[in-house]
Symmetry: C2
Subunit: 412 residues, 2 copies
């Protein structure tokens, strides 16, 4: 039997009615002859509630306990989805991460998948099970403790299953009907893309376009998993949604494909460090060891051998970053005057594989922002993206201005 | 180190403040030098919510999926309790049933504990962990699927841990400050007992006095686990609450120690079955195989070789009982005219070890109910208890009248 992976996000399983609607979509694919692996998220809002409780209980939480708590929402939806399918006379059972097992490393709260031995699940398919409902987002460490894959980790679970089981396609059902040139909630001219390259999707995902988790796209690109993003709230044809594909499959594209943003950024400045070899390594090794995902980095011009080191990271990792910096100072590993934390920032980026063959995109972007009176705090670039950190109050203005100026409302 | 088991019920961990309060109680015992095993229930209301979802999704649910869903609430509180203790600088970690492992049989939704190998937990105690926080109510089957122990199963988890780890005592923290002569909510004269025998507690628990799960008391009696019921909402001395002890430790007692009731009963009558050997066996084997806990049984006087068989069971097992009876009829195993189901009943019981040495208790009970105009539908008796099934509308009246007439407001 060909295998299909279908992933339903939190809003797609937010209540029993929606679980039934999702189960019907699964039934359509079962009727076509697929063995289906369904990956479910927690009901919308549940994981946030659990994360809130953990943060309130213990701001610098033991990540092993965090994982034990926040993974529970997916177990509920997995069981309910299996029951719903059984009610439709479709043989189904639920699987928790440790039952599959989905084996990860021990990097709790941001674990990486190491192996998904398909034997247990395949044996049940051989015995007549048509649908394996798998709790997304979670796995089990070599020590036998529950791990989670980071927010949005269910997407990664889905792609990893598609790779491990050689699935024909991995359909990501969500609350949007595809990938847009930017967030339609803040820019009414946003346009749905029929296709997007893995590379662009990767940049969009990493920049906070919440359609797909970054790692899921990386994984799909590496294992050549055909990925489709579509809405669970509409009747679907086989051509619905947005296909995420290899670059070669995209004939023409705009120079810029999309404008992304992320509110979930904080800017930290380590004030007055010695400007000498090894200092940057000390800082970013300490942050990395503490599990802080540093994003943008900028070092000021040195004056009299003293400089400031500025970096950004997700807001929920600021406490961890602060602790790590103080620890390395207390241990005598680094001297600095103070640590300035700025929560009132956001990141806005333009992305497009067309940038590779066309110059001047950065200059145009900076001009557009400048014309709107928006000050740029930090800049980073890659081959196909340019990102800036700006004051959060300018976020919508920046996105709309860039979307207009790069004419993203018009197809290539 | 001596070991203490402390169990906190749903209202005792209903929110983060209450979890903190419970953690403080744990801290008091840790300070005394105990290695503590904390058993937690789900936050109040959570399990009911999950059970509701399962029932709405699938009235005749696959019990394996039921267990996968409803066990999740305890995982949340276990993790949050471990984090709270860590914040108090008490080394603690959470354990889910399959991690301990708490091994059960495969009787999903009402599984029985088969073994609790103490090795994993003891190794962590040896490494310096002071508190093992265990998710109550759940275990793992030999097939590696999650099982649950039936409602109130966290009490059983607690006693089983106390037995497996040779604990000095098993303290059950709940929302009442001990065991009462009857439910104070429906009888203002109810009085707290300082001590009660295992046997009486067993009858009270089985009769719906919701202080302790029946099986936990059976287990405590068998393994001589010293059991204490006390409130998590009051400052506690070492003499607080009610001790559940061996009969020999109780010097004097009233003839009747308590009046219990259960709303959660339904009466089923299998109408017009042949009155011949094997019929009762057929009926009750079918019910037992379907996992129905039959409680009271009464067989009407036979007329012309035809009789009615009446029994009671918990209301949430009625659908299952009905299905089992229809299945045995469809299979040609039994003929009957119809199945009458009466949900408007309740069970009221008087319990006391003093009954063993004093006769006339049953007669007195029937007289009291008769004087109030209450019709008795079914009667069962044991050595230390008499139960009657009556119309539900008379429940409070019956309890109050019996409490008064047996003078339970006065100590022995």
């Amino acid at each position: 039997m060909p295998t299909l992976v279908m992933k339903f996000g939190g809003t797609s399983v937010a209540n029993l009615d929606r679980i039934r609607r999702a189960a019907k979509r699964v039934g359509v694919e079962v009727a076509k002859g697929y063995d289906v692996i369904v990956i479910v998220s927690a009901m919308a809002g549940k994981t946030n509630e659990l994360v809130g409780w953990v943060n309130e209980t213990s701001p610098l939480f033991d990540a092993r306990e965090y994982d034990a708590v926040v993974s529970s929402g997916e177990n509920v939806t997995a069981g309910l989805m299996a029951l719903t399918l059984q009610e439709m006379d479709i043989p189904a059972r639920s699987w928790q991460g440790w039952q599959v097992p989905l084996i990860t490393n021990s990097a709790h709260s941001q674990a990486r998948i190491e192996d998904i031995p398909p034997h247990n699940v395949n044996q049940k398919f051989a015995e007549g099970m048509k649908v394996a409902v798998v709790a997304g987002f979670q796995g089990v460490s070599p020590e036998g403790r529950i791990t989670t894959l980071g927010r949005g980790g269910s997407d990664t679970t889905a792609v990893a299953f598609a790779a491990a089981f050689g699935a024909e396609r991995c359909d990501i059902y969500t609350d949007v009907d595809g990938v847009y040139t930017t967030d339609p909630r803040i820019c009414s001219k946003a346009r749905k893309l029929e296709k997007i390259s893995f590379e662009e999707m990767l940049e969009l995902a990493s920049l906070g376009a919440k359609v797909l988790q970054t790692r899921s796209v990386e994984l799909a690109m590496r294992y050549k998993v055909k990925l489709r993003v579509l809405s669970s709230f509409e009747e679907q044809s086989d051509e619905a949604g947005t296909l995420v594909v290899d670059e070669e499959e995209i004939m023409e594209s705009n120079v810029v494909s999309g404008v992304a943003y992320s509110r979930d950024e904080a800017k930290l400045t380590v004030v007055s460090v010695l400007d000498r070899p090894g200092v940057a390594a000390t800082i970013f090794t300490a942050l990395s060891d503490a599990g802080v995902n540093v994003d943008m980095i900028v070092q000021n011009v040195s004056e009299e051998g003293i400089t400031d080191m500025t970096f950004s990271c997700p807001t929920d990792q600021v406490a961890r970053a602060e602790k790590a910096m103080n620890a390395v100072r207390d241990a005598g590993g680094l001297e600095f005057e103070s640590l300035i934390i700025d929560y009132d920032v956001c990141k806005v980026s333009v992305v497009g594989i067309g940038m590779r063959s066309q110059s001047g995109v950065a200059a145009k972007m900076f001009k557009i922002l400048s014309d709107e009176g928006i000050n740029i705090k930090v800049i980073t670039t890659s081959e196909i993206k340019i990102s800036v950190l700006i004051d959060r109050k300018y976020m919508e203005l920046a996105v709309q201005a860039l979307h207009d100026a790069f004419e993203l409302d018009k197809a290539a």
